[in-house]
């Protein structure tokens, strides 16, 4: 990508979706949630599901609290189908982490998967973070971001069917279109996948089921697919592999137009000064002052 006369050029093959706003969260007490979650284990076979979004971390110093990017589950109840993705500069006791953590607690701590991706070490060429203390902060020029300071993250999962071992799934994270190397020493894959019970909330800016980790960040162009529409989206767009999906959604560094197609628009929130998804069926409800910013991806 080059910048000429104040305009961004991402190359002739990349078309950016017109974008004027992002959702913004203060890291103190605000968040947004829906009345229905989208991620779930289904009966029968492994299903490909993903969570794609652009995010700008607004912290200027390391915190002893995680920053939740998204969560899904029931308020203050992590025992049943609780999902989250969070970035930790440090643990609550001050230990440096500089890592992103994914957890899906399907049914208590005996049935869950936890994945950790350090931003440093093997992932330095992808993230730009040079060490465990080279944190992802808004004022750290080492971090690889797009021209507007945003990172594209794609959590791409092959979710095991109900009753099958959590270890039969795949859970990968892509940073700006590149697959991060997992920290295998912190991996947890125990127990089996459980069916979704009830109607959990999808939440941004706060770990709703674990009641922790508010996020001081902006989030833009959220795109979640569940068990059936991911394959349709891939087929329509000629995407064969997981890397194809990552490349397509990263789009050379500018948000791609995924199209307002009813087959997947229910999982697409653009946050263009609106909390409603493109399908018009599942709005986020802003809580405690969550709002929008023109500082967008």
């Amino acid at each position: 990508m080059i910048t000429v006369f104040g305009r961004n050029y991402y190359g002739s093959s990349y078309v950016c979706v017109p974008n004027g706003y992002a959702a913004t969260f203060d890291g103190v007490n605000d968040y947004a949630n829906t009345t229905i979650g989208l991620l779930e284990s289904v009966t029968g076979s492994i299903s490909k599901q993903w969570v794609s979004f652009w995010i700008k971390d607004l912290d200027t110093t390391a915190q002893n609290a995680g920053e939740t990017m998204f969560s899904q589950g029931f308020g203050s109840n992590s025992s049943s189908n609780a999902w989250y993705l969070a970035y930790n500069t440090r643990a609550s006791n001050g230990t440096n982490l500089n890592a992103i953590t994914f957890q899906w607690q399907s049914n208590g701590t005996g049935n869950r998967v936890i994945k950790r991706w350090d931003l440093f070490g093997a992932n330095t060429p992808i993230t730009g973070a040079t060490s465990i203390t080279d944190f992802w902060l808004v004022n750290n020029s080492n971090i690889n971001v797009n021209i507007n300071g945003y990172v594209h993250l794609l959590l791409l999962m092959d979710i095991p069917p109900v009753g099958q071992p959590m270890s039969t799934g795949n859970y990968d994270l892509y940073w700006n279109g590149q697959k991060l190397t997992q920290n295998t020493t912190t991996n947890v894959e125990i127990g089996n996948a459980s069916a979704q019970v009830g109607t959990p909330s999808l939440t941004l800016g706060y770990n709703f089921p674990f009641n922790t980790a508010f996020s001081n960040a902006r989030i833009d162009e959220l795109f979640i697919t569940n068990n059936s529409n991911s394959s349709i989206f891939m087929s329509v767009n000629g995407l064969t592999t997981d890397q194809d999906v990552a490349n397509h959604l990263y789009n050379g560094g500018c948000p791609v137009n995924v199209g307002n197609d009813g087959r997947w628009s229910g999982g697409n929130w653009r946050f263009e000064n609106s909390w409603t998804n493109e399908g018009g069926t599942l709005p986020f409800n802003p809580i405690n002052g969550a709002t929008f910013s023109t500082d967008r991806a």
């Binding site: 103190v28 007490n29 605000d30 915190q63 609290a65 995680g66 989250y84 230990t95 953590t101 922790t212």
Partner: protein, 82 residues
């Protein structure tokens, strides 16, 4: 610009909820359920300072305040991280 302050639990029915971004049902409580935090626009800073005697916090100060032992939540997730 948005400002923040914290109030005692027994003051929750004294808050003018039209002045703040939060609602009674969604306020963030500290770890001891003794205090809750609210936020408001600059025009109400003096009102809240007169009420609780604490200068309103700007966003940066409030963020640091949430990192204190009183507010930082240690969850099951954190116990795993340790």
């Amino acid at each position: 610009m948005r400002y923040y302050t914290y109030l005692n639990a027994n003051e929750i029915d004294l808050v003018n909820w039209d002045w703040v971004y939060e609602s009674k049902d969604t306020v963030r409580w500290d770890n001891y359920n003794e205090h809750f935090i609210v936020s408001f626009n600059e025009e109400y800073c003096d009102e809240f300072e007169r009420f609780n005697g604490i200068p309103a916090m700007d966003h940066k100060v409030a963020l640091n305040f949430m990192n204190s032992e009183q507010w930082l939540k240690i969850s099951e997730d954190d116990s795993y991280i340790e």
